[in-house]
Amino acid sequence: MTTRILTVEDDERIRMSVRLALEDEGYEVAEAESGEDALLAFGQAPADVVLIDIMLPGMDGFEVCRSIRKVSDVPIVMVTARADTHDVVAGLEAGADDYLTKPHAPKELSARIRALLRRVRTSDSGAPQLVFGELEIIPDEGVVRVGAEEVHLTKTEFRLLVELASNVGRVFSRELLLERVWGYGYFGDGRLVDVHIRRLRTKIEPDPANPRYVVTVRGLGYKLAA
């Protein structure tokens, strides 16, 4: 089955060239030139990965991202103009799994896509079931429960949680989590980890401001408390 990518980009030239390059890599590419178009296209035929340019006329990329997140946990890559603005954090908070800055080499894009898909499709579970107080993780089924209630996590959030749970009490540095979860090297953006941890906490912590499970170790990283 070919992987289907939906690219949301208002600049026709970029859209065309990116489609050509991605098709060379063996992906099937669907295009949308506006946020409204993208939601329509996604409703008709869901994609395996969505690529969204933040700067869109009309409905902006953040809004598209939030709307898709409401109905799907499909991996989303945001394309931003600049890496050092608030756009990155806002995009991640809107539900994006990763981001790329413009211009990027299509090779870089397909590397990102591969990393996202790999982690969706593989699950390196150890134990069949992990339980920490109220929190219950079943890696093979991709299920997380708090109390009796099932919590809906995106694939990336799930992978992050399973990674932390694979070695309870151990401190994971941002660099290590970036490598294990996102497939980045040492120079990945630590904000990816921070925002995903924040999102994870709002879903599984009874009080996200005072986390009980996913704990920050000041200056070093994060750990899952038993």
């Binding site: 600049d11 030239r13 970029i14 060239s17 990116v18 050509l20 390059a21 060379d24 103009a81 600049r82 890496a83 050092d84 413009k102 211009p103 990027h104 080499a105 299509p106 090779k107 090297g185 040492y186 120079f187 953006d189 630590g190 904000r191 921070d194 941890i197 924040r198 920050t216 000041r218 200056g219």
Partner: protein, 468 residues
Amino acid sequence: MSRWERLGLRARITLLFALGGLLLATTIGLLTLTLTRRSLLVERDAAALASFAENGQRFQRQVGDDPAAEGVAAILESLTTTSGALPLVRFGEEWVGLNLLVFSEETVPNTLLQLISQGSAGRTRITLNGEPAIVSGVQLPGRDAAYFEAVLIGEVDETLNSLGLILLVVGTVTTLVAAALGLWASRRALTPLADIRAAAESLAAGDLKTRLDPPADADLASLSASFNGMAQSLEDRIDRDARFASEVSHELRSPLMTFSASAEVLNNDRHQMSQRSQTALALLTDDIARFTQLVENLLEISRYDVGTAALQAEPVFFAEFVRHAISYSSRPDISLSVSEEGESLVIVADKRRLAQVIANLIDNADKYGGGNIEVEISSESDVAFLAVQDRGPGVPAAERRVIFDRFSRGSSGGRRGHDTGTGLGLSLVSEHVHLHTGEVWVEDRLDGMPGARMVVALPIRIDPEDDQ
């Protein structure tokens, strides 16, 4: 510019005040002296006249028909004279006086003698014994005799002299006080100018937000307003230029995205192309990469110009970080030596920017340093040092600042043909390091061999803020 204007405003004001003080003191002094002298003399004159009139009448009553010299002398002694008044009497050819050494026949001027010989009284000024004096004389009625009295007025001059001395001292003091007042006034008047100077210097140093506080003095309000207006338009203009550079770089990103994706599509089909097309494509691909880097660097640097460069600081294990940065750089093979305390060094840094600093320094050493690069990490109290040294020709002392300027590539222009850099590498290094409140400089190699040594000094902060 006249000599007067060359003196400077403050000196001129001081001088004017001093001159004014001098003029005032001199005028008052001279006036005082003249008036005092006149009134003293008039008084003295009146006293002399009164004494003369009384003594003359007294003498006339007391002197008998027999004017024996002794008798006359006795009468003269009995006369009450004002202090310093000397009587003198002529009887026919004979002269009798109390102090003939000072006041005698010879000293009486002829004009006076002639005057009184006509029967009237007279008075005139003479000099007695070197002192000024007033001589009054009168013919005694009915006989060939005359009464004279000399009053020394030298003490008036003495009084006037000491008064003059006092006035001189007072005048000098007045002049000095006026000069001091002038100096103070000029300083005070120029204080707003000092503020303006400070503001202008601050503007020149790059603080474009510098403005003058509105002055309390209405006279200076317009100056301050026009200064602030100038500063504002300067800031606006620089801001506009910086924004323009930023927007241009930004606009270049979209076509670059198309370039890069299209070039990749072409590269995928490279094997179907002729040799010539492949060469052209390779050139195109290389320069797209270089152009992309240039735009990135321009954007990065324009962030500093627009003032939107913000530090994303987090604690970093320095040695580990540098090791990784080297492995990702254009020369992953180069050696790193870390001092003992450097191994455990933790600094607070913006990882993206710090990685760029290291990569750019290595690129620079690789390009101009003739290979053989060494990287060192050390520390000293609260400063972490990163040194990158090469075995190239080094950097001449005159260029050690300039090389951090934008698009500066040292004097070796001949090598530009092989240059693939963007000319912004080292200026970005400098901007990044300064954003970390650090310093960067270039020096000679410590071992005396030819080559350049780039040193980055970064502060070690104790409290690493957790940026989550």
